[in-house]
């Protein structure tokens, strides 16, 4: 029995048993459903083996939405626990697991795939390419991310979830103070999905640098493509640090090394440094693509070109540089002394300048425009004031002497939610609504969408503004309970009410998807928003090859110019198109990675060895495989085009 003991959850509760049953039933239902409707073949051919950037983008999107709800349930549980003093809904151990997975899921498995979903779907279309530079690697990226996410998500029913915070500071995360396998899950889930992200970074840099349509110089790229380029450069520089840190942490936990222990010369502060050398750029990895989406949406619905294109690009490049120079502000209180803190305090506050430039440029894009309040535009406009509040509190936190008082309090929690929600989540919801017709050929309902927007934006304020106050009143973050005499009760109750409002907002979005699938009109054409950049120049939904002919580009708004200024996008005759073949290898390899991670987590060494061999076998197979892709003939293209035009 000893062997099976390790898979038991160390702190079981009725909720966890209920989740086990629910997960079991869902799996059975999915398998039964697929078998009954004979969809196994469809699933394998069209999705599991696809290398099409659009389908991979959609899979990222679905995963992100699923994880949003997983992380959202965590959030509701936390707010409910803290709503009243001395609450007994969750005990300390469960609360610790819940806030740890909430952070991990929301950052790594919700925001990241959401952002990458739009990179995948939009960038090749925006630059007039047929796919990304390495389509099969792209599929591998997705499946590695997905398996990482699954690995973390099974932790709470097999072996126990990580419980030392999403920052996982050592020595708390070391074997001495975290005996369960939770932190092993943390290490491997992040390692495997981080590998996928790293590959994405290389893929998109290559795609954007090498595969742009003729005429599209760097300074004629649409803003979202620019933001993607800068983001992926940050990914390539930042993620290796995480890889190394996780590797060292894993060695400490599984092989008794002493990188981060407090005995034998280990240094716990090193983990904090390495974590944030990755962690702070990570924040900008999330926010820059969001800025890109806002730039697209605001300029589309203000019916104007983006104001200050050059300073937009310049500010992103400066932000990317500064993002690597501020990590110490996450632990001003570690005792580095006044000089170090002063330097990092100044670099931190300096980031406000390029960010401010972007805010003002968006405001000036509205100037002399013709503003239409569609759902994507509402999110973009709601973003500006809420994000400004979040942003200026960031400057306040950047004043290191004052930070001694904000650090580790609800003030900090309020700050980063007030930048990540309007900054990233609003942008993703704007992008979701904006690109939905391009993905699926119909719009989401505007009326329900507006209701959802108002619920989400108002309740963002209701949930997080009280935390600024309770933080200044001395409420530390990550406390699972507090006594009545502290006076935190009222603020936490307001937060809880806001959290319920947010949940209703997100539920409305789900209802909107259902409603729109059933009732939205399908004959909306390929350019329902009267947009400006190339992705709207092809059909909706987009054919496999994206563009029948490669478009020619003269400006960052080539499609707009073709509509208004007589620019000719397509020149010459149709030609056959070279496309990559589907492949099951990325999926299979990621499955082996999943087993590999799982085996490591539970120290099952035989399985580790076998799966390691399996991974190398997959690599070898790819090296010797001869696959030169296939051609789509002119006749096929003509037929597809005729059908799409007729529809």
């Amino acid at each position: 029995m000893d062997f099976f003991d390790r898979f038991a959850v160390p702190h079981p509760s009725p909720a966890i048993y209920a989740s086990m049953v629910a997960i079991g039933l869902t799996v059975v239902a999915i398998i039964a459903g697929l078998t009954y409707f004979k969809k196994w073949g469809y699933l394998w051919r069209e999705w599991l083996t696809t290398v099409d950037h659009k389908r991979i983008g959609i899979m990222y999107l679905i995963s992100a939405l699923l994880m949003l709800f997983r992380g959202g349930v965590d959030a509701i549980m936390m707010r409910a626990q803290l709503a009243v003093p001395e609450n007994g809904l969750l005990d300390a151990q469960h609360y610790n697991e819940v806030f740890t997975t909430h952070g991990l899921v929301m950052i790594i498995f919700m925001a990241m795939p959401f952002v990458i979903a739009f990179m995948n779907f939009v960038v090749p279309l925006q630059i007039g390419a047929r796919d990304v530079a390495f389509p099969r690697l792209n599929a591998l990226s997705f499946w590695l991310f997905f398996m990482g996410a699954m690995l973390l998500n099974i932790s709470f029913v097999i072996g126990g979830s990580p419980d030392s915070g999403w920052t996982s500071y050592f020595p708390l995360a070391g074997n001495e103070f975290s005996e369960s396998v939770g932190t092993n899950y943390y290490m491997f889930a992040l390692q495997i999905s981080g590998l996928g992200t790293m590959i994405t970074g290389i893929n998109f840099i290559t795609t954007i640098l090498k595969m742009r349509a003729p005429g599209m110089t760097l300074m004629k790229m649409p803003m979202f493509t620019w933001s993607t380029l800068v983001t992926n450069v940050i990914i390539v520089f930042a993620f290796p640090v995480l890889t190394v840190a996780l590797l060292m942490g894993t060695m400490d936990r599984l092989f008794a090394t002493n990188f981060f222990t407090t005995a034998n010369g280990g240094m716990d502060m090193l983990w904090a440094n390495l974590f944030w050398v990755w962690g702070h750029p990570e924040v900008y990895i999330l926010i820059l693509p969001a800025f890109g989406i806002y730039s697209e949406v605001i300029s589309t619905f203000a019916r104007r070109n983006l104001y200050g294109y050059k300073s937009m690009v310049g500010s992103m490049v400066i932000i990317s540089l500064l993002s690597f120079l501020v990590w110490t502000h996450h632990f001003f209180t570690m005792g580095q002394g006044a000089l170090t803190n002063s330097i990092f305090s100044i670099t931190t506050m300096a980031i406000a300048v390029p960010t401010g430039v972007k805010i003002f440029n968006w405001l000036f894009t509205l100037w002399k425009g013709k503003i239409e309040f569609t759902v994507p535009m509402l999110y973009s406009i709601g973003f500006i004031p809420i994000f400004t509040i979040g942003g200026v509190t960031g400057v306040m936190l950047g004043m290191s002497a004052a930070d001694y008082q904000y650090h580790n309090t609800m003030f900090l929690v309020a700050h980063f939610h007030m930048v990540i929600l309007p900054g990233v989540v609003f942008a993703m919801l704007a992008g979701l609504t904006y690109y939905w017709p391009k993905m699926f050929g119909f719009k989401l309902n505007e009326r329900i969408g507006k209701w959802a927007f108002w619920f989400i934006s108002i309740n963002t304020l209701v949930t997080f503004m009280p935390m600024f106050i309770s933080g200044l009143d001395g409420q530390a973050r990550r406390m699972y309970t507090y006594s009545e005499s502290t006076g935190f009760g009222i603020w936490n109750m307001i937060s809880f009410i806001g959290a319920i409002g947010l949940a209703i907002g997100f539920a409305l979005i789900v209802y909107n998807v259902y409603y729109s699938i059933r009732y939205s009109p399908r004959n909306i054409g390929s350019d329902p928003w009267d947009a400006r950049s190339l992705e709207w120049a092809t059909h909706s939904p987009v054919p496999e090859y994206n563009f029948a002919q490669v478009p020619h580009v003269n400006s960052s708004e080539a499609f707009w110019d073709s509509k208004k200024n007589g620019h000719v996008l397509y020149k010459g005759e149709l030609e056959k198109i070279h496309m990559p073949n589907n492949s099951g290898m990325p999926f299979i390899m990621a499955c082996i990675f999943f087993l590999w991670g799982f085996a490591f987590i539970f120290a099952m060494w035989t399985t580790v060895i076998i799966t390691t061999i399996g991974i190398f076998a997959c690599l070898a197979h790819r090296s010797f495989e001869q696959d030169h892709g296939r051609y789509i003939s002119v006749r096929e293209i003509e037929e597809t085009e005729k059908k799409l035009r007729g529809a």
């Binding site: 151990q93 610790n96 030392s164 915070g165 500071y169 708390l172 001495e176 103070f177 010369g265 716990d268 502060m269 203000a302 104007r304 070109n305 104001y307 200050g308 050059k310 209180t333 570690m334 005792g335 006044a338 002063s342 100044i346 506050m349 300096a350 406000a352 300048v353 401010g356 430039v357 003002f360 440029n361 509205l366 100037w367 002399k368 425009g369 013709k370 503003i371 239409e372 500006i384 004031p385 400004t388 509040i389 200026v392 306040m396 004043m399 290191s400 002497a401 004052a402 930070d403 001694y404 008082q405 650090h407 580790n408 106050i469 200044l472 009143d473 001395g474 406390m479 699972y480 006076g487």
Partner: protein
């Protein structure tokens, strides 16, 4: 200067009213360091409110003036590239604000990292504050006494806390006396504080350290120096000595009430500083 204080008072009043007449802990400082920090906080709130208001006004103006429903159907928005002067202003003003805040920030950094202003004349009281899961141990080496989970301090005398941990990273925080600092297992950090007036304050570990984190608090009582000396004398007369064996019991994971001892653990379990530090490579 008068105007600044006027604004400070207004904002302070608003916040006070908002919180039901009791000032927020951090904005109700009882010592010079907390005062510096509260001033910085209020100053930055003021400056930042100004920025927020500018953005709000601009946004509302744009939305009201340029919304589609207010314009003729055939209005075509013009193509406008950036304007160097406008963009220079958008860079320049934030730069000025950041420069100003940087100067304030750097000055405050050096203030909170040194002996409190106005307390330089007297020798500071040194207290070694260490954590074990999930308790606070306060050792007074000069007085040769030790307490658990409560801290008595004299007013009008600088305090020098030497922080370290028997376990995860924790953070020593008495909001009304000043901001926090980490306590770690492999080195000693120093936090300079002082209390202006007698009173009782909340102190806690602010850095998540596992299951018992929420209850990892301690009480702080500041009293005039004469009273403090009386208390020390009383402890020495009544409390039992702290033995190594007993101390090893104390640092086992769990919660304890308030305890008092004569002697400190520093003799048999020295703080990780100097040659006892985690990163001492043979030099003394």
């Amino acid at each position: 200067m008068k105007r600044k204080w006027f604004f400070l008072t207004v904002v302070f009043t608003i916040i006070t009213v908002l919180t039901g007449c009791e000032p927020l802990t951090v904005l109700d400082p009882k010592g010079p360091q907390a005062q510096t920090q509260a001033n910085d906080i209020m100053l930055s709130i003021l400056l930042m409110s100004f920025i927020v208001i500018v953005v709000f006004v601009l946004l509302v103006f744009m939305l009201v003036k340029y919304r589609a429903s207010k314009q003729s159907v055939d209005y075509e928005p013009p193509h406008i590239e950036g304007n160097a002067i406008v963009e220079a202003i958008c860079v320049g003003i934030p730069v000025l604000i950041v420069v100003f805040l940087s100067i304030v920030s750097v000055q405050s950094n050096y203030k909170v990292e040194a002996r409190p202003v106005g307390y330089e004349d007297k020798k500071p009281l040194v207290v070694y504050a260490s954590t074990s899961n999930w308790k606070w141990h306060f050792s007074y080496p000069e007085e040769n006494i030790e307490t658990v989970n409560y801290l008595y301090i004299p007013t009008d005398r600088a305090l020098e806390f030497k922080l370290y941990s028997y376990g995860p990273i924790t953070s020593f925080w008495i909001p009304q006396l000043g901001g926090q600092k980490y306590a770690m297992a492999d080195m000693v950090t120093t936090l300079h504080l002082a209390a202006d007036a007698p009173g009782e304050f909340m102190g806690r570990n602010a850095n998540f350290s596992g299951k018992g984190f929420a209850e990892n608090t301690f009480n702080v009582k500041a009293m005039p120096e004469a009273k403090f000396n009386e208390w020390v004398k009383e402890v020495k007369e009544t409390a039992k000595p702290l033995t190594e064996e007993h101390f090893n019991e104390l640092i086992k994971p769990g919660h304890l009430g308030q305890l008092t001892f004569t002697g400190t653990h520093l003799d048999f379990s020295p703080a990780p500083e100097g040659e006892n530090g985690g990163h001492n490579h043979g030099s003394k």
